[in-house]
Symmetry: C2
DNA sequence: CTGAAAGCGCTTACAG
DNA sequence: CTGAAAGCGCTTACAG
């Protein structure tokens, strides 16, 4: 009697399949990977055996041998932020088509968490990384990856003085568009609320803010610039603070739509009506901006497209040895709605 | 002269570390995994060598040998949905603490995409799966995983007639609370808008909807029940349709907050003022519900807690062989705001 | 507490 | 177009 009881099920391997189909293991391996060199008859035999034995391909063994994991690490600051989740959808949809899977990490803007996530992902032998870097990311974090010769694409936030592909939008231009729109409407006291001063995304917006003012011959009042969390809480806090100014602003440029929602809430608490008493512009054009009441004037930043581009660049680096470094900067668009008509 | 040029860098292995430290490979392996059996002196020697050689642990090799990947597959319907992204944060934070990493897949509610994602994840030898199943998920999808003896936890949506751990909230009770609140206010014509009829989440809400009516002795008018996409677009569509009813509703229960935002938008288009002309209740209590204008009455569904619980159950199944099947149903809470005061 | 050896399940040259 | 054999870098019994 053969003893089956309690015997741990042995995994069906490619060898079993090959034996069952009456071919060599290497042939079976080629069939699995759809190699053109195999005759249709052989292919069919192997596929039948796979079906019959219930064989499950083992990518772990494959990646140990072939040194390619078909996994891409994606590190973001916060998935509950709509801009980021839209970006992630773009990344995922693109990679999926190319048979890559996403290993996800969230840093909540913590540099130490980011370091830990990156090393875990390297240990898992990801084929490449797409990083939406934390605000205070050190350039050494990225240069270490370059040293390991691991392809990396930065997205949304640039890390200064670093040698790396990058996809993002032109925050300077976007802010310039938004602030110029307010200046054209006759505003001369425009606040800039929310966002973290250390981040490249804040600095870029500041440049656009300044440039629009310079162009219009209007001086920037530094007391109207208050940084804070890039969330709706940050919006509430900063707007309440700026309203205490003896000479308060007549318009507000917000770091993001999320911040703008907080700003609108803060204004509501003070009985100030946006679009009437004060003009508000956001940044990102997340779907909620349109259905918010009142609908928010904002700058479109196409996060999904950024995700698609980032994934495509990485893919080209992996499969086509496309080593030319790229910097793709998408053009933003101003969308005028009721908060600043 | 030694030829270094163009020579592909050989990977530093644990053997190199062991040789460098003057110990055996097995000892080095134990040091890496923090085995208590190793003396402090030996440990220090090995750690120094790791540092010096710049050794990177290879989890791929480790998992081929040890049959444990330290990767959990997480499959969700849509990360850009706030409920889902909050859920994911809960899952991620919990797993990360336990040294597991998340392989992410998004189905967009497509069953075939879900099937493909699951098999890719199985090929990557995930240690377990957390699945926020697509609406029309077939029970065979889950039973196949049970057959592979892969631990699975379902979250948010139950798959009928299936043998599996589950974490979700009590949608029946949540809807009962919301609809009873409207009935107590004297409404007798309450619409139920949005959500897909096939899904367990819709069916449960329907049960709660019916039960609240039965309790109040009010008949349900089927012409006020219109299903649709669980998005704000779905909300706009279904509210415009229900308003065409010769005898329109005086209150609306929405499948989710997202649907409610669409409903509010649709009402705005018709000049109907929520909280005044008509009462609205949502479901989920996403952060935007509070800062929306007007703030939305809704049911709190604690997605982050669901994520934490799901990850914890899975962890216990993996590490403690905790094979008792669990069904955790969280209690929802009604949050009354301006759309129904 | 440590060492020598086998093996996880593939892919990859190489030879035919 | 196919086969036999080595090897990816770990962990795991087993022996000491």
């Amino acid at each position: 009697m053969v003893i089956f009881l309690k015997q741990k099920k042995r995994r069906i391997t490619l060898q079993d399949v090959a034996k069952h189909a009456g071919v060599s293991t290497s042939t079976a391996s080629l069939v699995i990977r759809n190699h053109p060199r195999i005759s249709d008859a052989t292919k069919q035999k192997v596929l039948n055996s796979i079906e019959e034995l219930g064989y499950v391909y083992d990518r772990v063994a494959a990646k140990l041998r072939s040194q390619s994991s078909k996994i891409i690490g994606v590190i973001v600051t916060d998935i509950s932020n709509k801009f980021i989740s839209e970006f992630l959808i773009g990344v995922q949809q693109t990679l999926e088509k190319m048979d890559y899977t996403v290993l996800l990490g969230t840093t909540f803007d913590s540099v130490s968490k980011q370091e830990r996530l990156i090393s875990t992902m390297v240990e898992h032998r990801v084929d490449g990384l797409i990083i939406n870097a934390a605000s205070k990311t050190n350039k050494s974090t990225i240069s270490q990856l370059n040293h390991l010769e691991l392809p990396v694409v930065l997205a949304n936030r640039e890390v200064e003085h670093v040698n790396c592909d990058y996809v993002g939008i032109d925050y300077i231009k976007g802010t310039y568009l938004a602030v110029s729109h307010l200046l054209k409407k006759g505003h001369t006291r425009i606040a800039f609320l929310g966002g973290i001063k250390m981040s490249s995304t804040w600095k870029d917006r500041m440049k656009g803010f300044q440039k629009a003012h310079d162009n219009a011959g209007v001086a920037v009042d530094k007391s109207l610039i208050i940084d804070g969390l890039p969330t709706s809480e940050g919006g509430v806090q900063t707007v309440l603070e700026v309203l205490k100014n003896p000479n308060p602003p007549t318009a507000i440029f917000c770091f993001s739509d999320l911040v703008a929602f907080g700003v609108l809430q803060g204004l509501g608490m003070q009985g100030i009506i946006p679009g009437q008493d004060i003009d508000i512009v956001g940044f990102d054009n997340i779907p909620e901006a349109e259905i918010y009441h009142p609908p928010l004037t904002t700058v479109s930043s196409f996060p999904r497209t950024i995700g698609i581009k980032a994934a495509t660049i990485l893919y080209n680096k992996l499969e086509q040895d496309d080593s030319i470094q790229q910097r793709i900067i998408l053009n933003p668009e101003l969308v005028i709605r009721e908060t600043s008509t």
